[in-house]
Amino acid sequence: MRTKNTILFSLISTFFLIFLISIWKILATLQGLSINSLNIEIIFIFGFLISLAHLLIGDRIKSIYKSIIFSSIFVFCDGYLIQKLPIWYNVGVFLILYFFTNKISKYTFIGLKEEHSTQIILFDFLTLFGILFFSFVILFPFYMMLITSFKTQIALLVNPLDFSINFGQDIKDLFKSYFVIFKSYKFGKYIVTSTIVSVGTVIITLLFAIPAAYAVARLNFFGKTFLSTSILIIYMFPAIVLVIPLYTIFSQLGLRNSIEGLLIVYTATTLPVAIYMLQGYFKSIPKELEEAAILDKLSWFGIITKIIIPLSIPAISSVALYVFMIAWNEFLFSLMFLDNPNSFTLSRAIQYLSGDAETPRQYLMAGSVVVTLPVLFIFVYFEKYLVSGLTAGSVKG
């Protein structure tokens, strides 16, 4: 039992170490180092030996010294004997090993004897693995997007693995792609259009949704249940089945290639979820406040503007941010309705750029950064509000 657990523990921790080192090696390769092999076998042997030695030594040596010794041995063998690599790479390896030996320092022979110890070890390492794996898998494309926008076409073709940026160069050269897309491709105009469309959608949606949500939440009228259920069902209908009829109607009305057309469609598609979210919140506001207001002879307009809106700022912010995000990211309708470059939104402009095979990829990525940054910024800054919007709006997306 003890041997089996020991071997399992060493295996699991070794696989974790291999994963850590491999990610570091990939990142180092992308800085232009020529690392032609991940050396998985060697790391496997080292990792296994380190885990075993750690258990065997136990607490005869202070764990800090133990970590430093193990890390130094590993760095010496991997970074010096097997492949000669720069200092910063070896420092990284050292830190990884230090982190790793610290993580395994809480496991001892005694601990391994306990019930379910292998499962606990597996769970612990899987969590660590998951955190790193998902961070890497999610952030890597964003990282690549950003780096590519700072590179030149030739550099990208000569060595696609070189992600290093020369910060020594002139600011003008560094941000060349951005200058180009703003100057030659009119991205400044597209940003303005996108902003107008998104903010306009938010304002109109709120103007329409707040009164409607108030009516659904508070007033009794014939057709209320029908309305509130049909809101959700309507919301489930996808944009792709609306596209052809709307295209034909908009063509005949001359609404294509116009901001007004986009505003109408975006508002209509976000209204149901806005009403749904707001009415849920309005219902939670105590009724007594309004009853007092009615005694004061406030009209429904007064009630909404003086009582309901001030009390539901959090919900309204959620809806506003969510609608903004939807409108800013929207692609299908802007693809269908806009074919005149003068009325493009950012998303449509990037798609148009990519349609030309000659467009250098760094321009495309610079455009992508420009369209992504505002959304990510808003998301990180207002995360609390947006998450509740996302959860409520999640039936669609």
Binding site: S37, I131, V137, T269, S347, V371
Partner: protein, 419 residues
């Protein structure tokens, strides 16, 4: 008293909801019915432009005769396929103009030139010319003359409004258009995308539910793919997976894991042999599904995490007392607690992935065996320019969607009954 109060309440409610209801109905419900109408018609993209009679006014002075002027109207039918009936023409002139030669189709009264041109066939063109002379011998202001625009009017058939219906579109969609293959691709895409995103959602939610340093940061990062614009992400992935100088292929080549680059988005099949069995994996479709999972697992994560945080701690404490292993805890406590969320998520995501257009369109454009139903709507309607066919495919989607929704609400209703 009470009655009037209830009445005003009703009235207020209708006033408050009317704008929203009208907008949603006209932009969402009406098009769905319009789709049914169009799907039974033979309409092409070029048919939906309304034919217009147009006239370009050219003013020419006549040499040696400053009191005379020649006006040329270049008349044409804007449509290449449809005729315009009963074209009428009107133009105004200054109060001292006399016409010299009156066309038999026209009349000139009160300095107003009116013509009835009759019917114009498709592509019709005519150069129509009139000569005027001022009756008081004054000079002619050419600019002023040019600024007055003629008015034209005519009747034409709107293909969309006539009552010729055909079943051709549906026949083509269901029998000629590799319908089974299309449906299968769509179902693969939908099913594996949904299942994959839910599995990743469970894993990440379970992970973030533990305590570790940087947990709130991790939670934000996990939502990045879902909040970022799809256009940016799709092109980034395309570059990442590019067979010639994409990062992924370069890395794999660099570490000698593969010998030749793999075209992950452009290759329909890849042969894989596992344990002596040869499989044909649909490569591009798999890649597209991976992208879909990557983009939408955050949503499953968000839902499942919310549910996990609501599970009472006592359950786990009791399990610890009984000596349950982590896996037993996961399978016997966590999983049963989140099945309800998972089943709802599955239905929602299934419906949405079924209708997903942008992701596949941007990554492959529907090539290499990734043509799903929504992509087909676009291809039929706009690439082949057959609006009727596109509509027919939309209708197929709506019918399938209604079936899913029926099951969904039945399941939801059952769940409500149970609680």
């Amino acid at each position: 008293m009470n009655d009037t109060l209830a009445n005003t309440e009703k009235k207020t409610a209708y006033i408050l909801t009317l704008p929203a209801v009208l907008l949603v109905f006209s932009i969402i419900l009406f098009p769905i019915f319009a789709n049914i109408w169009i799907s039974f018609k033979e309409v092409e993209l070029k048919d939906i432009r309304i034919p217009e009679p147009r006239a370009k006014k050219i003013v020419k002075s006549i040499s040696d005769e400053p009191t005379k002027i020649k006006i040329l109207y270049k008349l044409r039918n804007s449509s290449l396929i449809q005729e315009i009936r009963d074209v009428s023409f009107q133009d105004n002139f200054p109060k001292n103009f006399e016409i010299e030669n009156l066309d038999p189709r026209c009349s000139y009264e009160k300095y107003n030139l009116k013509c009835e041109f009759g019917n114009w066939p498709a592509k019709y063109r005519e150069n129509f010319q009139v000569i005027f002379e001022t009756n008081d011998g004054s000079k002619i202001d050419k600019k002023n003359l040019k600024s007055i625009k003629p008015k034209l009017d005519g009747k034409s058939d709107n293909i969309l409004l006539n009552t010729n219906f055909t079943l051709k579109n549906f026949k083509k969609v269901l029998f000629e258009n590799e319908f089974v293959d299309l449906l299968l691709t769509t179902f693969y895409y939908t099913f594996f995308g949904t299942v994959g995103s839910i599995i990743f959602g469970i894993l990440t939610a379970q992970m973030v539910n533990q305590k570790f340093y940087g947990r709130t940061f991790m939670r934000s990062v996990l939502l990045f793919p879902y909040v970022a614009p799809v256009v940016a992400l799709a092109y980034t992935w395309e570059l990442l997976l590019d067979p010639n100088s994409g990062t992924l292929n370069s890395l794999l080549l660099n570490y000698q894991i593969i010998e030749t680059p793999i075209n992950l988005l452009g290759q329909k099949y890849i042969e894989i042999s596992i344990l002596g069995f040869d499989f044909k994996l649909r490569l591009a479709l798999t890649t597209v599904i991976m992208f879909e999972i990557w983009r939408y697992f955050p949503l499953a994560f968000l839902f499942i995490l919310a549910r996990l945080q609501a599970i009472p701690k006592e359950l786990y404490e009791a399990a610890d007392v009984d000596g349950a292993s982590p896996f037993q805890k996961f399978f016997n406590i966590t999983l049963p607690q989140i099945t309800a969320v998972i089943s709802i998520l599955f239905m929602i995501r299934f419906i949405w992935n079924f209708n997903k257009f942008e992701d596949v369109f941007l990554l492959t454009g529907g090539a290499s065996g990734t043509r799903t139903l929504p992509i087909n709507v676009y291809q039929q309607g706009f690439a082949i320019s057959d609006i009727g066919m596109g509509s027919a495919v939309s209708i197929v989607i709506v019918v399938l969607l209604l079936m899913f929704m029926f099951f969904y609400f039945k399941l939801l209703g059952k769940r409500v009954d149970e609680n």
